[in-house]
């Protein structure tokens, strides 16, 4: 049985095309994926991300408990700061990727992927041991929207949350907005400036309507999962189940920059990750652009010198650059930027070139 978010009726009213995503009936597009994509880059877009999970970890041992999970160092977080993390298993494989927010001392919020909420919650509980913590999965209580794009801050201000109050990049605020307790963070999954707002289910439709109304003159549009995918790909953000899974370590996934190699505390999978830091990885994530006219898709094979060396994890057209782009894993970890590879598309090989991961230069205004 698929689930519906509290914004389902809003999507239907807006003529969205609905698809099943991780057990949820979600809007894949309202008008056109390309139009929605370009609008987020140029103006602003509003996403229903209520399917994502909110897990709260609190208590005297909250920090030391969380430190046992991630290759990242949660101790570095000041109050109201956010950190991109991965849960790793004994083999260093990624159980999920998530954002950890420090709300205050002994109180953390974990925002996790929709498809992994139950896995993550059980993972936390299974490793609770003697830590004095309370682990609460409040995913059924809260809904979430993402307001993204160069006009996001202006629109949020017009909706009544002034710029002076808005959190800085990768920070979160617990505050009152539309008369309700909310969590507002300056985070997102598009490569643009923007916010993610968590609010009680019962208030999400009101917030959704308000942002669309106030953002009208600044070009806001509701955006579906289709454009969410092309936006994140262009800005080199991984998607769980595509670039990330339990057989892939953060180092293999190109997430070395997120790892604290000097972290003293033990965490699950640390041996494997430390070993990989010294001795290298089994495969590596590459980004590529198609030279020949073809589109690479999830599951297509990657070749070099007529030998299969890997597999595509994501691929699509880049609406911003009007080229075909993709990500994939290759076993040859010596491949470099500008090297040519081939992608097998319908039994024919097409040339592609390895590129920098971030296809678009981040054009956030900064804040």
């Amino acid at each position: 049985m698929t689930k519906r978010t509290y914004l389902y009726n809003e999507h239907v009213k807006a003529n969205a095309k609905i698809v099943d995503f991780a057990g949820w009936e979600m809007p894949v597009q309202y008008t056109s994926i390309i139009e929605e994509h370009n609008n987020v880059r140029k103006n602003a877009g509003l996403f229903d991300v209520s399917h994502m999970g909110e897990i709260f970890v609190s208590g005297k041992d909250a920090l030391s408990f969380l430190q046992t999970f991630f290759p990242q160092n949660v101790a570095k977080l000041n109050d109201t700061m956010a950190l991109y993390c991965q849960f790793t298993n004994e083999n260093g494989g990624i159980v999920d990727d998530l954002i950890v927010y420090k709300l205050k001392d002994n109180e953390y919020l974990l925002v996790v992927n929709a498809s992994r909420v139950d896995v993550d919650y059980e993972w936390l509980v299974a490793h609770k041991n003697d830590f004095e913590v309370i682990i609460e999965n409040k995913s059924d209580v809260y809904s979430m929207v993402a307001l993204q794009g160069p006009n996001a801050a202006e629109i949020l201000a017009l909706a009544g949350y002034e710029k002076e109050k808005q959190p800085k990049t990768f920070h979160i605020k617990q505050d009152k907005f539309i008369g309700e307790d909310v969590f507002i963070s300056r985070t997102g999954y598009t490569g643009e400036d923007g916010f993610e707002i968590i609010i009680r289910n019962e208030k999400i439709a009101e917030l959704w309507q308000l942002l669309l109304e106030k953002g009208q003159n600044l070009g806001i549009m509701p955006i579906g999962l289709g454009a969410r995918d092309t936006l994140r790909l262009e800005s080199a953000m991984s998607l769980y189940g595509h670039e990330l899974d339990e057989d892939t370590t953060p180092l293999e996934a190109g997430l070395k920059w997120t790892i604290d190699k000097d972290k003293q505390e033990n965490y699950i999978g640390k041996n494997v990750i430390q070993n990989q830091l010294q001795n290298g990885i089994r495969k590596k994530l590459i980004a590529f652009k198609m030279i020949d006219r073809a589109i690479a898709r999830h599951g297509y094979e990657i070749y070099k010198n007529n030998e299969q060396i890997g597999i595509v994890t994501s691929g699509c057209i880049s609406p911003t650059l009007n080229i075909n782009i993709g990500f994939g894993y290759v076993s040859d970890t010596n491949l470099k930027i500008n090297d040519t590879i081939q992608i097998m598309v319908r039994n024919k090989l097409y040339n592609a070139q390895i590129t920098e991961k971030n296809f678009i230069k981040k054009h956030n205004k900064g804040n």
Partner: protein
């Protein structure tokens, strides 16, 4: 423009239409609507022959690649060259004003017998 009363549609959402001595194959309006933004069309070689039900090309939207199946058997006489550079025309132009390929059909009447007339097809998909 192809007259709707001459159009036959397959369950895989291609149409075929014989008009003014030519035989055109294209995508139904329902298919275009379902695909969303079309970003790539892979066309067959002119002169190649395909049996009814065989794959003759691919159409790709932002989200996915979908194969194109021959609604009738025949030999490719021409492809719509405009779609190579501008696949988005499929989204912009009425479905019966844009075709994918022109063929010479082997046995048109016989092959369309189990296809749906356009009106019947629309009722089926909607």
């Amino acid at each position: 423009m192809l007259e709707k009363e001459n159009i036959f549609c397959s369950k895989s959402h291609e149409y075929v239409c014989e008009q003014d001595g030519n035989c055109y194959i294209g995508l139904t309006d329902y298919a275009v609507e379902q695909l969303g933004d079309i970003v790539f069309v892979e066309m067959p070689e002119v002169g190649s022959h395909y049996a009814k039900g065989e794959i003759f090309g691919t159409v790709e939207s932002v989200k996915a690649a979908s194969e194109l199946y021959m609604p009738v058997s025949g030999t490719v006489e021409a492809i719509n060259e405009d779609l190579i550079e501008k696949p988005e025309l499929l989204n912009e132009v009425a479905f019966n004003e844009i075709w994918l390929i022109k063929i010479s059909a082997d046995a048109y009447q016989q092959d369309v017998a189990d296809l749906l007339g356009y009106d019947e097809y629309k009722e089926e998909v909607e």
